[in-house]
Amino acid sequence: MSTTVAERRIAVAAQRKHSLHRSRMWALWGSYIALSVFVVMFLVPPFYTLMTSLKSSAEISAQTGSPWLVRHPTLENFWYLITYPNFQRYYLNSIIVTILTVVVSMVISVLAAFSLSRMGFWGSQTLSTGVFLTYLVPPSLLFIPLFQIIGQIGLINNFWCLVLLYPTLAVPFCTWIMIGYFSSIPKELDEAALIDGAGYLQMLWKIFIPVAMPGIIAATIFAFTVSWGAFLYPLAYLYTSNQMVLTVGIISDLIRGDVFQWGKIMAACLLASLPPIVIYAFLMDYYVAGLTAGATKG
């Protein structure tokens, strides 16, 4: 009798294993299909951009041949942009604005997050919720009132106004990321540092920032993306080419009336995407670690 029971158990186990195997197979197929759709949707536009950027204007406007292939590849669009003083200006402005935005945003949000998550003063809970709520206000609602303020300070058509404005977009989310990150650091670590003789700033500098480095990198990437890719504010506040940043410079300079210089626009887009691509490629591992930190112990 015991043998039959054992045999039946083995059979049930085998069946279960079989169905597990099958459901895993279905899951895999599902993932492949979903990922394929994703890849097509997201990689076709950059591919088309690259193809177009390598064509001469004549080839772009020619009616014959497939628009997906390049017959006479040329770097003339890239060469034109690299040697074009306006484009150099936009690039430099974008770099200046972004670096300053990232630095200002990170200094503010790290200090804010540290005090909100660790110093436990009266109202700190409400404040940290408030910080997150400000992130939910869409920038498009703010740009008209902000236009008034920027006008009064006299920074209209001056890229320094962006250094003032972008942190208002980046700081709430960065602070929120950092609050989450700092909160995941065990309380005993600051107590040990306090007893070891550290003040609050030393504790922040020597313990919290190094331990929360993945979070800081995640927040930095976010601030960078906000600043590098912002379109609405520079479009509203900047109108001469010496003040413009890449996002608005490209469209205002390379679209003349109803003439779209597609080859140059595409090349400019690719050149403008280089810094984010490089930064993401180097910091991707940290970024992912930063976004999932605190989800599990250890």
Binding site: P186, E188, L189, E191, A192, A193, L194, I195, D196, G197, A198, G199, Q202, K206, I207, P210, V211, M213
Partner: protein
């Protein structure tokens, strides 16, 4: 090196909850004092107040002759070892230990001399370049202790430092901590909920319960002369048996305790005076499992024999625990491992009443 004292120390949280209800405690120089008690008894809060990590609601804390209520932790010259080690994860073992000295601007050669010395005491010299994540639990615990030792502080504070270790390592580290204390002789306050740790480590044990100190004394004193039922039940493993009883007249003009209708035990003549005034009152009889054992006619002539049905038998190797019920009250006896005991069988038992304790049921006071 320093004395530590608490004078009527109270800790009250915002909601009006008192975690510590006015305790008085004096800790001598070089002394190793263990605060022990169940969760929520206020032992950790007391330690954290000594460390300066919690504010004192009222009362005074003295370290080395000064009131330190308003002194920040870093100026109290204390070192603390935490339950979860609290090592700085991004620093090497050396840097972890050197951190406090660096902040205090010690010269480099002095820092490395002290760290090397502490590493030698704790046997972690080969680990100095590693990061905490590459260490085992026991090694992390040593580093945490090393961080305390290098500072050469006035007082060591330990907050349940062994709770995260497995049983075997815990015993090993316990010995280690005792050895370190014998070497450096720094005044130590140690918090644990484990009474075995408390008994083995302490010069003096402070038993706390519900924010109050129940009793302070040397480990042997607490074991043999508990002041309250709580201490009697908390110290010793397995815990003391408590049986409701009544003191009444015994044979030959003596006294006896009547536990049930069928069980009446004679009180030793030398205790008759002490217990006489409780005659005809309901009391609680306390008997440790080790003072309750199998009955042998030849070995213990004249001892009272009680036959009880066995409930559960737990062989431990060097001894065997046997559990019974007396009138619905669970009782544990520690018998010789050679004794044959099976569940539901009757086992003849006897008790060493020279080791008995008698308590008032209302106050829990041992009389």
């Amino acid at each position: 090196m320093a004395e530590v004292a608490c004078r009527k120390v109270v800790k009250e949280y915002d909601a009006g909850v008192q975690a510590v209800k006015g305790i008085d405690l004096d800790i001598a120089d070089h002394e190793f004092v263990v605060l022990v008690g169940p969760s929520g008894c206020g032992k950790s809060t007391t330690l954290r107040m000594i460390a300066g990590l919690e504010e004192v609601t009222s009362g005074e804390i003295w370290i080395d002759g000064d009131v330190v209520n308003d002194v920040p932790p870093r100026d109290r010259d204390i070192a603390m070892v935490f339950q979860n080690y609290a090592l700085y994860p991004h620093m090497s073992v050396f840097d972890n230990m050197a951190f406090g000295l660096k902040l205090r601007k010690f010269p480099k050669h002095e820092i490395s001399r002290r760290v090397d010395e502490a590493a030698r005491i704790l046997d972690i010299t080969p680990l100095l370049d590693r990061k905490p994540r590459a260490l085992s639990g026991g090694q992390r615990q040593r580093v945490a202790m090393g961080r305390a030792i290098v500072r050469n502080p006035k007082v060591f504070l330990f907050d349940e430092p062994l709770s995260n270790l497995d049983a075997k390592l815990r015993v090993q580290m316990r010995t280690e901590i005792k050895k370190v204390h014998q070497t450096v002789r720094t005044t130590t306050v140690y918090v644990t909920h484990d009474q075995v740790e408390a008994m083995t480590l302490a010069d003096r044990v402070v038993v706390m319960n519900g924010g109050n100190i129940e009793q302070v004394g040397a480990p042997q004193e607490l074991y043999h002369h508990p002041a309250t039922r709580f201490v009697a039940g908390f110290i010793g493993s397995p815990a003391m048996n408590f049986l409701p009883c009544r003191v009444q007249d015994g044979a030959n003009g003596g006294l006896a305790v009547r536990v049930t209708d069928s069980i009446t035990l004679p009180i030793p003549p030398n205790r008759v005076d002490r217990y006489g005034k409780f005659k005809d009152r309901s009391m609680v009889l306390g008997l440790r499992p080790e003072h309750l054992f199998e009955y042998h006619e030849q070995a213990k002539p004249g001892w009272t024999r009680v036959d009880l049905p066995v409930d559960v038998v737990e062989p431990m190797g060097m001894e065997t625990m046997v559990h019974f019920f007396v009138d619905g009250v669970p009782v544990c006896a520690r018998v010789d491992p050679a004794t044959h005991a099976e569940p539901n069988e009757i086992l003849p038992l006897t008790a060493d009443l020279n080791q008995m304790h008698l308590m008032e049921p209302e106050t829990g006071r041992v009389v």
